[in-house]
């Protein structure tokens, strides 16, 4: 490189660096009347419980994505080579239907809470919860069928993953049912539907979310 190019390059880089530093050391939040526009800079327009709830969904998403990734990697022959695909019990299709219905019931409950209809809200919630319990029972029956058939040994990673992932999904539903139970108790204690609006809304989102997780999981299980 000749000295002139070098000098120009150096000059340019000094200028660029100067601009970068200027940009990055600016304090725009200090200008325009300092603190007089305090009301502008506020928090997100959401109740804290909702923010925390969505953050929790982020954590759970991370968990399931990692499980799915592990599943995918373990299937690859370079990670073991002992994967024997298994046929899932037909009962799972019925269970899927139950879970969809429970999600619908939860959505119904959400609308009722908004309309402050306590009687029907109770009914909708009970429906949603019972359907969920039916789903969980169905999953256990499916497990039982698999055990009985003797073709799903734990040493086959395909069936081990089946048990593991359905169990993890089920535990998350049980967590939801705990909140569901507490909500029922509050209604029994006379809480108005209005006051439970946020809880019921978050419950419904949680149910939809776990439905989506289940559909993905089911698709993965059936297709592999």
């Amino acid at each position: 490189m000749n000295p002139i190019t070098l000098a120009i390059a150096l000059l340019c880089s000094v200028v660029v660096w100067g601009l970068i530093v200027r940009h990055l050391t600016a304090m725009p939040w200090e200008e325009a009347g300092g603190g007089s526009h305090l009301r502008d800079i506020q928090t997100v327009d959401l109740p804290a419980a909702k923010v925390a709830f969505y953050a929790l969904l982020g954590v759970i998403t991370s968990l399931f994505l990692l499980f799915f990734t592990a599943y995918n990697m373990r299937m690859n022959p370079s990670h073991g080579g002992d994967w024997h695909s298994v046929a899932e019990p037909g009962l799972l299709w019925l269970n899927t239907g139950l879970l969809i219905l429970s999600s619908v019931a939860m959505q119904w409950a959400r609308a009722l809470a908004k309309r402050d209809n306590q009687q029907k809200l109770l009914l909708a919630l009970i429906f949603g919860g019972l359907l969920t319990l039916a789903f969980l029972t169905g999953q256990m029956v499916a497990w039982g069928q698999m055990q009985a058939s003797g073709q799903y040994s734990l040493s086959n990673p395909a069936s081990a993953f089946f048990y593991l992932l359905t169990a993890v999904h089920g535990f998350h539903l049980i967590g939801g049912l705990v909140v569901w139970g507490l909500t029922l108790k509050k209604i029994k204690g006379g809480a108005s539907a209005q006051s439970l609006q946020l809880t019921v809304e978050l419950c419904s989102v949680y149910w939809h979310y776990l439905l989506v997780v289940w559909l993905m999981l089911f698709a993965i299980l059936v297709s592999t």
Binding site: S36, A48, R74, G80, D82
Partner: protein
């Protein structure tokens, strides 16, 4: 539903003041008490981890002298030392301790948004610690698998604690993750939703930025550890083969069909590398604030510092396999991960430059916290530079699993965050207790610790070049290790023991100053950020008395020309600005 921001619906009486001793100090929902509970628990296990390292050093310097240390014990000490230091001390102290104490005070809120959840978080953390400690006492003792817990050896006979120790370790980690998630959701939500009026995100002190970003990393990365812990537990207890390959054990088929240990490594390090930054980012934030306060200068390039924290956080999810170069990966993978690793050095280097530029022509006060903060710049730079070497595949291969690695990671994630912790304790102790820590003891503590750690870890790099392997009970004799290795090992051990004893001086200082320390007043360092502007020191339940503070400026107004004092608190209005009362009377008017 109409939504009212938390800062606008303030009611100082909403938090019921605790009545009895038990509800005030034991089942407390006050973030400050929970912070102290976290801190004391973490420091106690940390002390245990320190003792374990002392025993390892004794063994390495004087092999065959200690009958109570056999090869199995040694491996157990290595493992428990590493795991306790990384998870149960550093993660818990930075986030559960300092996060809990500082977030509400620095953001100007009365408490975390979910105090009950916060309390649960501590008790579940304590449970995880107890489970961990219990593993020392079960048959076979604690696990000796190394803090990385790699299968197959972690659960195979021949590894100490392969029966119960490893199970308790996995369970304890699972419980810890639950505790962390409860705390973490709280920290994130509080930062997002409960900041006081005027506290925009870009006015938050870097401490809050560091803790906030680290918490998000933790929330996304800890699930990877949970997944690997669950699957390993099943491999151990139910005989699944997620990770366990078909192996012979003691001459017999162990009953596994052909799982993938490499899969475990991917999961572990997908957690493990972000974990380094879960510990480092809060340290980055806290050291920035300490440097700025004691140099009486605004932090250099605040906006750059914030974006560097965020960028490092994001990048930390795409470098994990630099811990796996020796696992026989595809060369293109190695190339990819080496590249991302080098890229992450850019925002990291920017931070180091900015710390140095903050000191540049500052009006530096060489207080004890400042000494520790400056010490951190040294150790972190050293650890970071050796990291650049190890990030390259060809350099890493021969150095992997040698003392070079031990030297590197102790510099970068052992000593450096610990120095920041000390800086932070000396800096914020006056807010927590109302008294200053003793300076003379503090200076002795600093110099001996700082020089001591260099005498411990610099020679380790050299040992690594010679090829001295890590996790070895004894080196025996071999062609590649000259006799000087033993001499060096002895000197390292002497330094390590001195450093360990000096920490007792620190502990003594903590207790002594609690009673006899100089009274600090509310703002002994003349600092600008909100936590120093509380009406009471230590802050009372609810933190702010009758009214929440209003934030008018960033946290770094030091040595502003034309101002009477050399710092301006964050809650002081600008000249000519409406006074607080008028502003809340006509909120929208003057915009």
């Amino acid at each position: 539903m109409v939504y009212t921001p938390i800062a606008d619906s303030d009611d100082p009486h909403a938090l019921h003041d605790p009545q009895s001793f038990i509800s005030k100090y034991v089942w407390s929902q006050d973030h400050k008490v929970i912070a102290i509970q976290y801190a004391l628990t973490a420091l106690s296990v940390g002390l245990l981890a320190l003792v374990l390292s002392g025993m390892m050093r004794l063994q390495l310097a004087f092999p065959e002298s200690f009958t109570f240390i056999n090869p199995s014990n040694y491996l157990q000490f290595v493992t428990m030392h590493g795991m306790i230091m990384v998870i149960y001390l550093l993660t818990a102290l930075f986030l559960g301790g300092f996060g809990n104490y500082l977030i509400p005070l620095m953001c100007g809120t009365r408490d975390m948004v979910f105090p009950y959840l916060n309390m649960l978080s501590y008790w579940v953390y304590l449970l995880s610690v107890l489970i961990l400690l219990a593993s020392f006492f079960v048959p076979g003792g604690a696990t000796g698998a190394g803090w990385t817990l790699y299968p197959p050896q972690a659960i195979m006979p021949g590894t100490p604690g392969a029966d119960y120790g490893i199970l308790l370790m996995l369970i304890s980690l699972g419980v810890f993750i639950i505790a962390f998630t409860m705390g973490g959701l709280n920290y994130v939500t509080t930062v997002l939703q409960a900041r006081c009026k005027g506290m925009s995100m870009m006015r938050m002190p870097l401490t809050v930025w560091g803790i906030f970003t680290a918490t998000i990393l933790g929330l996304l990365a800890f699930p990877a550890l949970l997944v690997s812990a669950i699957m390993m537990t099943l491999d151990k207890t139910l005989g699944t083969s997620f990770f366990m390959p078909a192996v012979l054990s003691m001459g017999a088929d162990a009953g596994y069909t052909g799982g993938s240990p490499i899969l475990f490594q991917h999961l572990f390090w997908f957690f493990g590398h972000p974990e380094v930054y879960i510990v480092a980012l809060p340290a980055f934030g806290m050291v920035s604030d300490v440097l700025s306060v004691h140099a009486r200068k605004a932090i250099f390039g605040y906006r750059m510092m914030v974006w560097a924290i965020v960028a490092i956080g994001a990048l930390s999810f795409v470098v994990w396999a630099h811990h796996m170069y020796v696992s026989g990966m595809n060369p293109y993978f190695g190339f990819f991960f080496a590249t991302t690793t080098l890229i992450i050095a850019i925002p990291t280097a920017i931070k180091v430059y900015n710390w140095v530029l903050t000191l540049w022509r500052g009006n530096i006060r060489f207080t004890v916290p400042m000494l520790f903060a400056i010490g951190f710049i040294f150790t972190f730079t050293h650890g970071g530079l050796t990291g650049l070497f190890l990030g390259n595949v060809t350099v890493d291969l021969p150095l992997s699993d040698t003392y070079f690695v031990v030297g590197h990671f102790h510099m970068v994630m052992g000593v450096s965050p610990v120095l920041v912790l000390f800086a932070a304790i000396y800096h914020w102790f006056p807010k927590v207790t109302g008294r200053l820590l003793n300076t003379t003891m503090g200076k002795w503590h600093f110099w001996l610790t700082f020089l001591g750690t260099y005498s411990i870890y610099l020679p380790m790099h050299y040992l690594g070049f010679l090829g001295v392997p890590r996790r070895y009970f004894a080196n025996g004799t071999s062609d590649f290790m000259p006799d000087s290795v033993q001499t060096i090992n002895i000197s390292i051990t002497v330094a390590a023991l001195i450093v360990a004893v000096v920490q007792l001086l620190f502990l003594f200082n903590l207790f002594w100053s609690l009673k006899h320390g100089e009274k600090a007043g509310s703002n002994p360092w003349e600092a600008a950020s909100l936590e120093w502007q509380t009406p009471d020191t230590p802050p009372k339940h609810g933190n702010w008395g009758a009214e929440l503070p209003v934030c008018h400026r960033w946290a770094y107004d030091y040595s502003v020309p034309g101002h009477a004092t050399d710092f301006i608190p964050q809650n002081e209005p600008h000249n000519g600005e409406d006074s607080l009362e008028e502003m809340s009377a006509h909120p929208e008017e003057d915009h």
